[in-house]
């Protein structure tokens, strides 16, 4: 059970890192501003004679999706940059030598570190997403169709990115890992936009390209699942359109695929670390 010792230690260490402290401060600021913005936006929607009542659910939904997208970005950045040095960085600065020289299996080190960081990053994302949903629900009485699914999908997105970062960290130095995984996530987001545009333009090639990118890096697909669970519907099965709306939501099977993806990343990271000279 040394992996559990390392998981607890990594969790405590992670919440003491400056990046997490900085993220916590910025998150409090973001949530305060978001609550304030939501308050005034909803008041305007309720009182303004210029806004057609049927558009109000769309606007409130977009307000919520904006908060969720920002939460997704913050959780993604936190996952990537808190884990970027988890293997290579600790080998470079020799922190890992005293630990790996103990009667601890290599796989326990990787799994323990992954679990500690995943716990911290997923908890952060889930808490912030819940607060964002709560703010809109308290002020506008709207929380999408499946807020729990949305929170879990966002937490899964964080775990996917974290796993990819741990995998990259078994090969690359800290900085290269952080930048590399962030760019992969950016490509996944671009793929998500391409898929949505392909749906609007009825272009199958664009949609297929988006799907393949989601298979390669399923992080954005999780954000799309969360958004789909939170957007307003207008009485039909199709959501009302908006800049952050999801017209072609990913298949629910993507969650299962993302789970397998995480296991695969972890397995390859373990195999790589098993043979690595420290």
């Amino acid at each position: 059970m040394k992996w559990l010792v390392l998981a607890k230690f990594t969790f405590h260490e992670a919440i003491r890192k400056r990046i997490v402290l900085a993220a916590a401060v910025m998150t409090v600021l973001f949530l305060a501003l978001y609550a304030l913005g939501t308050h005034f936006a909803v008041r305007e929607l309720e009182t303004s004679p210029l806004i057609v009542p049927s558009v109000k659910p769309l606007l409130i939904s977009q307000l919520l999706l904006t908060g969720i997208w920002l939460t997704s970005m913050a959780g993604s950045l936190l996952a990537i940059f808190s884990a970027a040095g988890t293997i290579s960085g600790e080998v470079e600065n020799s922190t890992l030598h005293a630990i790996a020289a103990k009667p601890v299996a290599r796989w326990e080190i990787v799994v323990g570190k992954w679990l500690g960081l995943a716990g911290m990053a997923a908890a952060y994302t889930a808490i912030v997403a819940t607060i964002v949903i709560g703010i809109v629900w308290l002020r506008a009485g709207f929380a999408g169709t499946s807020p729990l699914v949305a929170v879990l999908a966002l937490a899964m997105q964080t775990i996917v990115l974290l796993s990819l970062t741990v995998l990259a960290s078994a090969w690359l130095p800290s900085l290269a890992t952080g930048i590399g995984v962030f760019l992969l996530h950016a490509i996944a987001m671009a793929g998500g936009v391409e898929e949505q545009l392909g749906f609007i333009l009825k272009n199958q090639t664009m949609q297929d390209a988006g799907v393949w990118i989601s298979i390669a890096v399923p992080s954005d697909a999780m954000e799309k699942l969360a958004a789909a669970a939170l957007q307003a519907t207008s009485g039909s099965t199709l959501p009302m359109p908006g800049p952050l709306s999801v017209l072609a939501p990913p298949s629910p099977w993507m969650v299962g695929y993302a789970g397998l993806y995480v296991v695969f990343c972890l397995l390859v990271a373990v195999l790589r670390f098993e043979g690595k000279d420290l």
Binding site: K2, V5, L6, F9, E13, R16, N93, S94, T95, H97, A98, I99, A100, A101, K102, P103, V104, A105, G275, D277, L278
Partner: protein, 307 residues
């Protein structure tokens, strides 16, 4: 077949290659149990690679490494091993007691064993008063001590110390040497890698010198004086004939400005050289025999002067 119980560490035909660079080549090394074993060598000699292979941190390209009778890749072998890495970095947000508790957990020690052991090891490294202090408030010397404390946390049978006196003042260095001697008295095997040759000479029972990944000398520090004797003296009226006769016995003899030095294998050879000089008219005013130090041997090996 596991190595016999009297051997703490055994390396057999060990080779390690990083890319195209050969770090260790054909190394056979045996560290007997209950000894303090010094590992010496210039930078890049392969000492740290050897230590890492012993601990399973680096996998040998060829050969086998056994630790307390088990393959070094077996995690059980490391349960009774303590290790202080060179340039040890710490989790500085932990207090000294929390830090030791973490390492105790990684050794698989029970909560009761950890509670009892932590004050004991803090006492042994002189940090009892700082148990509740965060490591970020520690000086370099104190960090080295807490590193030593984690290495002895599990009451090890084998203690591997990579530059343990680095960063310590003379008093701290002496305390570490005393601790090593004390551990040896308790039957602990200590493998010491240090650049401070006087530390090695003072505490080690056996010494191995590595150079370019190969074992170039091993033995007892006391044996150093028995194979070569360095002689210095004050001389006058040095003749070419005297020098020629003496250099047949001591080829490195050098005499200038009234000073003379030469190296011979034994005490009989000293008198033969002196006789050769005196019979050729050289006046001899003073003669001193010096035991060759570990430093002399080390420098000679590194500079490739030893034949």
């Amino acid at each position: 077949m596991p190595q016999e119980a009297t051997t703490a560490v055994a390396l057999r035909g060990v080779r390690k290659v990083f890319g195209r660079r050969v770090a260790v080549e054909g190394l056979d090394l045996r560290v007997p149990s209950g000894t303090v074993f010094g590992l010496l060598g210039p930078n890049g000699a392969g000492k740290t690679t050897c230590i890492k292979m012993m601990l399973g941190l680096v996998r040998p390209t060829a050969g086998s490494v056994e630790l307390l009778g088990l393959p070094s890749s077996d995690t059980k072998a490391r349960a009774r091993v303590g290790f202080l890495p060179e340039q040890f970095r710490f989790h500085e947000w932990l207090t000294a007691a929390e830090f030791l508790d973490l390492h105790g957990r990684l050794y698989g020690m029970s909560p009761k064993a950890r509670r009892e052991r932590i004050p004991d090891v803090l006492e042994r490294v002189g940090l009892s008063q700082r148990a509740g202090s965060q490591l970020r408030t520690f000086s370099k010397g104190m960090l080295q001590r807490i590193g030593l404390a984690q290495a002895i946390m599990n009451d090890p049978k084998l203690l591997i110390l990579d530059e343990p006196t680095s960063g310590l003042d003379p008093v701290g260095r002496r305390e570490v040497r005393d601790l090593i001697v004390e551990l040896r008295a308790q039957g602990v095997t200590v493998l010491l890698n240090s650049h401070i040759l006087s530390d090695i000479e003072r505490v080690c029972d056996l010494v191995a010198i590595l150079d370019l990944g190969r074992l170039v000398w091993s033995g007892r520090p006391d044996d150093l004086g028995s194979d070569r004797i360095v002689v210095t003296g004050e001389v006058d009226q040095v003749s070419s004939a005297g020098l020629e006769a003496a250099r047949k016995l001591a080829p490195d003899l050098d005499a200038r400005d009234g000073r003379m030095t030469f190296t011979v294998a034994d005490r009989d050879a000293v008198s033969q050289v002196v006789w050769a000089l005196v019979t050729h008219g050289v006046r001899l005013y003073e003669l001193r025999q010096q035991r060759r130090s570990l430093e002399d041997l080390f420098v000679n090996i590194v500079e490739g002067r030893d034949a």
